[in-house]
């Protein structure tokens, strides 16, 4: 199996894992599985099979157990995703303030179905459950950062600015 990390990434992984493992009792290293998976996703953008093996080794558990955890939680990506993940909440409080319209608008604007990534690899669009920001509905998150009190126009501006940012970097 190929190594999941570059040498530089491996160093960061080892360092951070040491800090994470220090939060738990010696014989309870498995407790570090969720933070470890967050760390991997932070570095690679998603969680490949080889990285689960690494996590299992550090947390003194089996790759199967890590995989079971990785599949249970919706925030972990088990395949590569777009550069930005847009999660639109359509739960009750957001729907009462137009979330369905907002989601349909974004789908059309980005030309993707739910869960899909745009052809340029820039955006993955998902429908999401309540995000705990219902007083500022409708709400979406871009890469786990909140954007509240959304309107169709604000959504357009958001997409444009992310596109412009990406173009600049090229």
């Amino acid at each position: 199996m190929a190594a999941p990390f570059t040498a530089e990434q491996q160093r960061r992984f080892d360092e951070e894992m040491e800090k994470i493992l220090a939060r738990f009792p010696e014989d309870r290293k498995r407790a570090a599985v969720l933070p470890a998976l967050h760390l991997v996703q932070d570095m690679l953008g998603w969680i490949p099979e080889e990285a689960m093996v690494e996590v299992a080794r550090k947390c003194e558990t089996t790759p199967e157990q890590v995989r079971e955890v990785a599949t249970f939680y919706v925030m972990y990506f088990l395949e590569p995703k777009g550069k930005h993940v847009i999660d639109v909440c359509t739960n009750i409080s957001c729907s009462l303030r137009g979330a369905e319209k907002l989601l349909a608008h974004l789908q059309e604007k980005l030309g993707v179905e739910l869960g899909e990534t745009t052809a340029d690899g820039l955006f993955t669009l998902r429908e999401f459950e309540c995000m705990g920001a219902c007083g500022n509905a409708p709400v979406l998150q871009v890469d786990s950062r909140f954007h509240m009190d959304m309107t169709l126009e604000k959504a357009d501006r958001l997409i444009e600015s992310l596109r412009a940012q990406a173009a600049e970097k090229k």
Binding site: R23, L34, K101, R145
Partner: protein, 442 residues
């Protein structure tokens, strides 16, 4: 102004920094508590009549008293910051505006309970809020509030933030514990209760963010005074977070005797419904709570007052729907959430939640048949018959949370369900209400 004892400093610039918090007298309660015996602290919390703000409203002092005193095992405190119940966002705003009350509360609880390690389990989507907590924890270590000897008391306390990764069920206290141990967030059968055997098999107290963050207030004004501000069995004030069709949604600190009607309509609170429309229905305690009709809104937003009405204060999430909203659509959206979030351990919940969702969608889309309504209710009853609340057949209360609202919607708005079935369509031009159209186009 007796009603603002928790939030009086929110949104003041700088209050959410450690310097700002200290300027307002922060950590004086911790000093007071460290001069008391742990048992006295637990007794004081009992006297305060503080009830857990996570959903069940369990008396906090009583919960604490279940922790065995003589156990040789370490004890843990887990702060529940999972906040994923639809409609609920008070804990997020609290963590943003007042992170140090939470920190001080953790230190107070740790002293009372003999805890040396506390974990704050925060939902994964709250990335910025997790960063705020990390910073607040670092500041507390730097000031000797946490660490080897908190405020030179000789009591050691370590506090860690632990991020979830997207699963509502991890808010259920034993699901939380399994998640924190690095597994799937599957709830555990109780007993044993966490107080006896919780995290890593050790005595553990799980408390909601607001519950813990209220502790400094209780010891600032005194537990008797705190109790006297509330209702007979529910001390103090509480936070509610209002969403949906109101002019001023937001987090409000309310007295226990405030009715939902006044909360929604009074200028001092939510200021009524947009467009001068009328309220049709209100979910009083997060999506798990049975819906209230407009006629039922003259009930106090307090634990016992709601209980006698076969309802619950729940997580403090008040979701308001105006007269233009379709009740079938609302019931369907909520049931879709539970179908999605059932962990799948118990058959009635695993099979019943998607079944209810399918029937509700069928009715909403105009394909419902008269027999569907009875089927829907019978599926719901097999998970947890309502009323009253609390007769569920499943391992955790998610089953009840899914089944109870469905029955309440059918019971109280049966005519709307029947109209959908009779007319083979949704009779509402905008099923989520007129405001849903207006807001996004502003």
């Amino acid at each position: 102004m007796a009603h603002r004892i928790l939030t009086q400093n929110w949104f003041k610039p700088g209050y959410n920094t450690i310097e700002g918090y200290k300027k307002e007298g922060g950590f004086s309660s911790l000093r007071r508590v460290l001069a008391m015996k742990p048992d006295e602290v637990i007794e004081a919390v009992k006297v305060s009549n503080l009830r857990g703000r996570g959903g069940a409203g369990f008396p906090t002092g009583l919960k604490w008293s279940f922790v065995p005193k003589d156990s040789p095992k370490p004890k843990y405190l887990c702060v529940n910051a999972d906040e994923s119940e639809p409609g609920t966002y008070k804990d997020r705003v609290l963590m943003e505006q007042d992170p140090f009350s939470l920190m001080e509360g953790i230190a107070i609880a740790s002293w009372a309970l003999g805890v040396h390690t506390a974990y704050i389990y925060i939902r994964g989507e709250f990335l910025e809020q997790a960063e705020i907590l990390q910073k607040a924890i670092a500041d507390c270590y730097a000031e000797g509030i946490f660490g080897k000897s908190i405020l030179d008391s000789g009591h050691r306390l370590d506090v860690y933030v632990h991020r979830g990764a997207g699963a509502y069920i991890c808010g259920e206290e034993t699901g939380l514990l399994n998640s924190l141990e690095g597994g799937k967030g599957w709830p555990r059968l109780k007993p044993p209760f966490p107080a006896v055997s919780g995290l890593f098999g050790c005595p553990t107290v799980v408390n909601n963010v607001e519950t813990i963050a209220t502790l400094p207030t209780i010891f600032r004004i005194g537990p008797k005074e705190y109790a006297s501000l509330g209702a007979e069995k529910s001390g103090g004030t509480r936070l509610v977070c209002v969403s949906g069709h109101v002019n001023k949604p937001g987090v409000y600190e309310i007295p226990m005797n405030l009715t939902f009607w006044d909360l929604i309509h009074d200028e001092k609170w939510c200021g009524g419904i947009p467009g001068g429309r009328k309220v049709k229905a209100v979910i009083p305690g997060g999506s798990s709570a049975p819906v209230l009709t407009a006629e039922e809104l003259h009930v106090a937003a307090e634990y016992e007052a709601l209980k006698v009405k076969d309802n619950m204060a729940g997580s403090g999430a008040v979701i308001v729907m105006d007269e233009t909203t379709c009740m079938v659509r609302a019931a369907w959206r909520i049931s879709k959430f539970y179908a999605e979030e059932s962990c799948g351990q118990c058959t009635p919940c695993r099979e019943g939640t998607p079944w209810m969702e399918r029937i509700l969608r069928k009715i909403e889309e105009g394909h419902g048949e008269p027999k569907d309504l009875e089927l829907l209710v019978s599926v719901a009853r097999a998970i947890a018959p309502y009323p009253p609340i609390g007769l569920g057949t499943t391992i955790c209360a998610l089953g009840d949370a899914a089944a109870v609202p469905v029955q309440a919607f059918v019971m109280k708005f049966r005519h709307e369900f029947e109209q959908h079935i009779r007319e083979h369509r949704c009779p509402f031009p905008h099923p989520f209400g007129q405001l849903a159209e207006e807001v996004v186009r502003q």
